[in-house]
Symmetry: none
Subunit: 209 residues, 4 copies
DNA sequence: GATGAATGAGGATTCATTCAT
DNA sequence: AATGAATGAATCCTCATTCAT
């Protein structure tokens, strides 16, 4: 059945491998994933992986690169999709939750797996994640309409906002997957509602600097 | 080298092991950590780990348990330490960031490592995290003054708030560590400020349900 | 030393492993045998054993299976080889002693090692031994001419006979190996003679039920 | 609960250990038995075993010695118990099955475990087993009344008979334990009956040498 | 006499990686 | 281009054995 595979061009084979690898890496984690399993899922033999990607680390790095591209592209599309410049916070949140929920595997590989592994990936991953964070920062800024609105936020603040968004989203997507009755939309509602409640209370005793 | 044993009572040795394990686990991740390395850092021999903690998994579980205890206790103390009953959200945030920043390793082990590992830890970790989340939920509720204040939040909403808090904190601690000029206090300021700004903007176009 | 591989097809290597394993298992016993030693004797590296047979237990099981096959086949051949349909008990005994004497290692692995090991092998071994016992039972029944002859023996009795045969053979093979002046034939003579003597004596005082 | 045991005289402690060891050795086999487990069953601590018996091997050897004594004594008692010198074959078989069934653990340790282990025990065990075999030979001879009856059997034949008896008994006791509805007596009946049937058939075509 | 503490040595198992075909 | 065959190097875990108290 699987002996003597059809001779496919390199590009195609490589994508098959990366597809399989992302699937397995996101499910089992970097160390628990064996090259053998990836090869099996990809329907090829182990040596192919080494011929094309060089090593297990190279395979993971390839996943990082490709998924960073996909994420950045997805975020850009989300921004462009809603042409009207006055999106509002809700619109931004919804887009973000929906996006992460729909690109769960990419997200897991880039943000959970990559982070918990030690040194070998620090460089590669840091760069890839920076690109994604930048894009998300842009989206958040655009989504909240902040610079144009009331107070002006600094670059630092925008960064913080992006971190909050990714961190909260990461945690909330887990919750979302455990509560099938909720949707990205309803979750966005809840989050905003909570924020309003909390902040209303807070404004009473909080000495705004 | 260290072949002359120190003959310490079990309790002490156990804590040494767990100390070492948290250090190594948080640095290298669960899978990349070898029991041997933990033993070396703890200044004992491998079999001791197995005699006292049973297995690598048992060792990790012991870390989870102990750090969950420490974390819960620290949060409780932080809340109680400030006599004035009206803490406000700022107080809560500050306590939380402060603790996580000062206990980075515990946090990594509890929240990052534990999450990315597969099944074996689901049970143990879920229980430990539930305890922490409960405590944080309580803190958040107390901090916002809910449900005595404005709107009443449901259990589901409290859960979401706790997730946001932990998720955002996780992401922000990274940022905090990269910006030594900031403190838990100043970060708390920024976060609240941003929330105010965002929400003010949002209230304009957001149809509160 | 043997680092340059011979690149043999799987079937061949598998038989080499099993050959080596039977040798070592029968010499040292299951627990004292290390997979490493088996690999060395087979002239391959440890991982090959795991790739092909899965585990030490799988290796042992493979031995059991193969030797059970060989034994059953040998007994069948021995019976069929002698054309005259009236083989008699002597013929059967001779074939049996001859085979066990010539296949001492197989016998040890199948009957001694397997029995003294605990649970892991109960299933596999029980099945393999049942096949052998069945065959021996058939042989015994054919050899004694039952049930066409005098009394009819029940299934239970046939089982008992087979047990006696294997148990006695086991013990007698030890004796045979210690007495090089004896042959399977002469031993068979002695056994039958003893049986005659004993039973003649017994019929005097034994009240046949 | 178990710290600081009552100071017992050496003799008593030693017997406790050997009792426990026989239990565990016969259940789990030599290699699977850990000194720790024996100590636990004996209700003492591991170092005691080493102080008293020197090593795991010494522990096993002590078991061999003591059980060989017990077995020899039991066989002697069985012989003496039936004073009337004309016991008959059935009487002998019954005594033997009953005896092995009642001394199962000793039997297992001496005959099954000891045999399947490699070199270390060859000497010790061979001597112990020889004593038991001699005694059984005597019992068998007495039980069958052979020397006084029809044909005279040689020393060699007596040895063979003893081997058959022990081998068959070993195999049949397994069967007996699996069939609680049978007793040593009923099994003896079956065996004799089978022997009669078989030999009757055999005498027809068997050329007695 | 008795034990808790401690370890050196060894065995099963897995896995990334490389050849020979 | 593609793969079956093969292995070196870890890693987890266990156990007999010793020492300090």
């Amino acid at each position: 059945m699987s002996s003597k595979q059809k001779r496919l061009p390199r590009e195609v084979r490589e994508q098959q491998m990366i597809d399989a690898a992302i699937q397995v890496f996101s499910r089992s984690g970097y160390h628990s994933t064996s090259v053998e399993e990836v090869a099996e899922v990809a329907g090829i033999s182990k040596p192919m992986v080494y011929i094309y990607l060089g090593s297990k680390e190279g395979l993971f790095t390839a996943c990082i690169h490709r998924e960073a591209d996909r994420l950045v592209q997805a975020v850009r599309d989300a921004i462009r999709a809603d042409d009207p410049p006055e999106l509002g916070l809700w619109q931004g949140l919804r887009a973000f939750f929906g996006f992460v929920a729909e690109n769960r595997q990419s997200w897991v590989v880039l943000y959970q797996q990559a982070r918990t592994q030690g040194e070998p990936f620090s460089h590669e991953v840091a760069a890839a994640r920076a690109r994604v964070l930048d894009e998300i920062t842009a989206m958040v800024v655009a989504g909240t309409g902040l610079p144009g609105g009331g107070r002006i936020i600094s670059a630092k603040d925008a960064e913080i906002l992006a971190r909050i968004a990714t961190g909260a989203a990461d945690a909330l997507v887990d919750w979302l997957l455990d509560h099938p009755e909720e949707t990205p939309e309803s979750l966005s509602d809840r989050v905003l509602n909570l924020a309003l409640v909390g902040v209303e209370r807070a404004t009473a005793d909080f000495p705004v600097p």
